[in-house]
Point group: C2
Chain length 446, copies 2
């Protein structure tokens, strides 16, 4: 078999690379090989547990590729022969390529917890059948324990608590849930919302063992405390999948990912890589870690797809823009938190503002939206933003992501031109982004 562009992996990064290649190089044959029969929408995984009623309603349709004249092969690539420019499938078949793209993702990181191999203990894999099984177990059982209070852990907890007759416990080793990615104001709001909805939130708690005979029965903490557990979900981060690349002799780092140049080429110039499997530089420099997100994976897919036969797009240094929702409280972060900046030695000034996202406040859909902005003290440039409240927070955060990318100052943002409307946004007088910036301007002046 033979193709022009061969993409390994059909999730966010691979699919996006394929769609982009198709647009930029309409004369080329584009083929995606993926091992999953059904591909889950990665960010939608938590919502399969309740809101969208099962993983079958959270599938990237094959049509997203095949409808754009991309050939789709369900099979596993087990070897890359970069000298002869072909890959070997599990069944021994070879596919020849001109350009190869690796979008081979990441796998859950499993901390060394005794009993993690018991029945009814799950990690969060992008695996349709496993997710279905986990969902059934969660529905059938009462005591659900989630280990890890990051975004994924929090989203699972908030979904599962919506099921009837369920006790959900979330166990976080740090002082707050979301503590690595949010400042205290957001962490506390998220925690309060979870608790209001009956979730048992345990912080500064280290799991030392999952106890059980064959099945999980309880989770034991370092403090000696034990928590009943019919089902345990471990959500403690991911590691990049690099084996296929490293076995082929491509430069990679098993913790950080496959190494790529500024055009997202691996150490072989005809092999590109994108998504969770690739090393991610932070916009803020070497002292900071970039998050792994589907939005970054697709961004990289767009870079790779356009660059295949013409190097035109540079790899982005990741700002890190992400949001979530707990019950009716949307939360989001762009760039650095105050904690991250201060821990790295950057003196910052924070500006804050809250307002109703309608005007007058009696307009339908009125909700509070709050904003915290983090500026470098020495030059007033914005390096971080946090948003909470109304569900416009998602797009609101994208204004802030762009402001960070463009290195705008508090002064710039205090006179930012925005559009407002009674039914869609806050009034221009208390408009959150601008007033938070003005708050910082005053602090920076004083």
């Amino acid at each position: 078999m033979e193709t022009d562009v061969l993409i390994v992996g059909g999730s966010a990064a691979g699919l996006m690379a394929g769609i982009t290649a198709r647009k930029h190089y309409p004369e080329k044959k584009v083929t995606i090989v993926r091992k999953e029969d059904k591909v889950l929408i990665p960010c939608g995984i938590p919502y399969t547990l309740h809101t969208v009623d099962g993983p079958e309603n959270n599938i990237i349709p094959d049509e997203a590729a095949t409808g754009k004249d991309i050939e789709l092969i369900i099979n596993e690539v087990v070897e890359i022969d970069k000298e002869n420019k072909n890959v070997k499938l599990k069944n021994g078949e070879l596919i020849k390529y001109e350009k190869l793209v690796l979008g081979i993702g990441s796998s859950p990181f499993l901390p060394p917890i005794k009993g993690a191999n018991l029945e009814n203990v799950y990690t969060v894999k992008k695996d349709f059948e496993l997710l279905k099984e986990m969902r059934n177990k969660v529905k059938e059982n009462k005591e659900i324990v989630i280990i890890g209070g990051g975004f994924i852990g929090v989203e699972f907890a908030d979904e599962i608590r919506k099921n009837d007759d369920t006790n959900v416990t979330i166990i976080e080793i740090l002082d707050n849930v979301l503590s690595l990615v949010c400042d205290d104001i957001l962490c506390e709001k998220a925690e309060n919302k979870l608790r209001e909805n009956g979730v048992n939130v345990l912080t500064e708690s280290k799991v030392i063992e999952i106890v059980g005979d064959q099945k999980a029965e309880k989770v034991k903490l370092e403090s000696g405390k034990e928590i009943s557990a019919d089902v345990v979900i471990i959500a403690t981060g991911v590691n990049p999948n690099t084996e296929l690349a490293s076995e082929a002799g491509l430069d990679s780092n098993s913790k950080k990912g496959i190494l790529v140049d500024e055009y997202m080429r691996t150490s072989d110039p005809d092999i590109f890589a994108c998504g969770d499997c690739v090393e991610k530089p932070s916009y803020f420099g070497e002292n900071f870690q970039a998050a792994w997100l589907a939005s970054i994976a697709t961004n990289e897919g767009r870079v790779v797809g356009a660059n295949l036969y013409n190097l035109r797009r540079k790899k982005q240094k990741s700002i890190g823009i992400f949001s979530t929702i707990v019950d009716d409280l949307a939360l989001g972060v762009a760039g650095l938190t105050k904690k991250q900046a201060e821990n790295a030695g950057i003196e910052v000034v924070e500006g804050h503002a809250e307002a109703i996202n309608r005007h007058p406040g009696s307009m339908p859909g009125a909700q509070l939206l709050g904003v915290s902005l983090i500026f470098q003290k020495y030059d007033g440039i914005i390096i971080g933003a946090q948003v909470y409240g109304a569900d416009t927070a998602g797009e609101f955060l994208n204004i802030l992501g762009l402001a960070i990318e463009k290195q705008m100052t508090a002064e710039d943002l205090a006179t930012l031109q925005v559009g407002t409307h009674p039914a869609l946004t806050a009034s221009p007088v208390p408009y959150q982004l601008i007033n938070a910036a003005e708050d910082a301007v005053i602090k920076l002046n004083s």
Copy 2:
């Protein structure tokens, strides 16, 4: 009487100038003189007719000023003596100032239509009692005719049609409603939505007379057609209020507004002006006209308030970012339309994309959101954007306004970093802004 900062006008611009002055110059005495007993939230005026149930629910609370230690005087300034730095009130009293700010707004432009002085014919004034009267008339009567299909006319039509037993007709002289500010795609969507909801939309129709004895009875078109009219609302734009300024010898233009320098000082350096009463330059140069919006007025208020004793903020050239909603269809524009650009002689490329603003599409709150982006053909820089569909359109447009301000190219936007979330935004794969930009990239390349 004596104050440090005296502000004439208590609507968006004046209030914002006052709040900003208070933050930047806490040691100064700040006084607002306004003639209205109650100040309407300007953008909320249409919504008093139905949604928020009356003008009394659409008031800027005095507390917005007095709660920030700004003195509030309800009176009318009738004369400015710039030599002696004082103003005269209607009752003859003088107020001495160090710095004077004019935020004296605009008045409805009344086209020369015969019968415009009949009873039950209204213009859209920021006048509480008049609005209350108009609301009552609209509620009591059946046949309501709106002359002018701009944003205000459309908002009035969409509100009034929500009342029981009401026939609403909107009469627009151009080929479409919103035609001066939107491209055809948005105009048609707005028109269709109005018609679906029973509004009688007449385009390419010129009103020549409002016919009636004492009260309005019908509206006569140039075509000879007559439309029954119990109440007529004229919404055909505004003119700046400049009289007070020009009588005081300050430079002004009765059509364009009071003239100010780059720091928003009038021809007297101790007198500043902001809001609808001030001339507005367009971001896009002299060939284009800037809109008059409350969001621009507040922006100018923030510039003036900060500059009073220390010139630190430059007047913004207006990009023009505004949005509205017709029934459940949000619409918005930032920058130039395709029509405006082409009429001025700029060759453009348009990129377009639509997607559901959730992922998977079965997530609650899923609505379509579509985006059209206008780029200069010769350099690929974005000069305009139009958004329609979901009510996240309001904040979405503010991302685009910033992209225009920062002169980003289609290529920049095709790899823009954004945050996405199943419950808050589109998936990163079909994310509208990026895909519309990619659409333009492909067209620019070919």
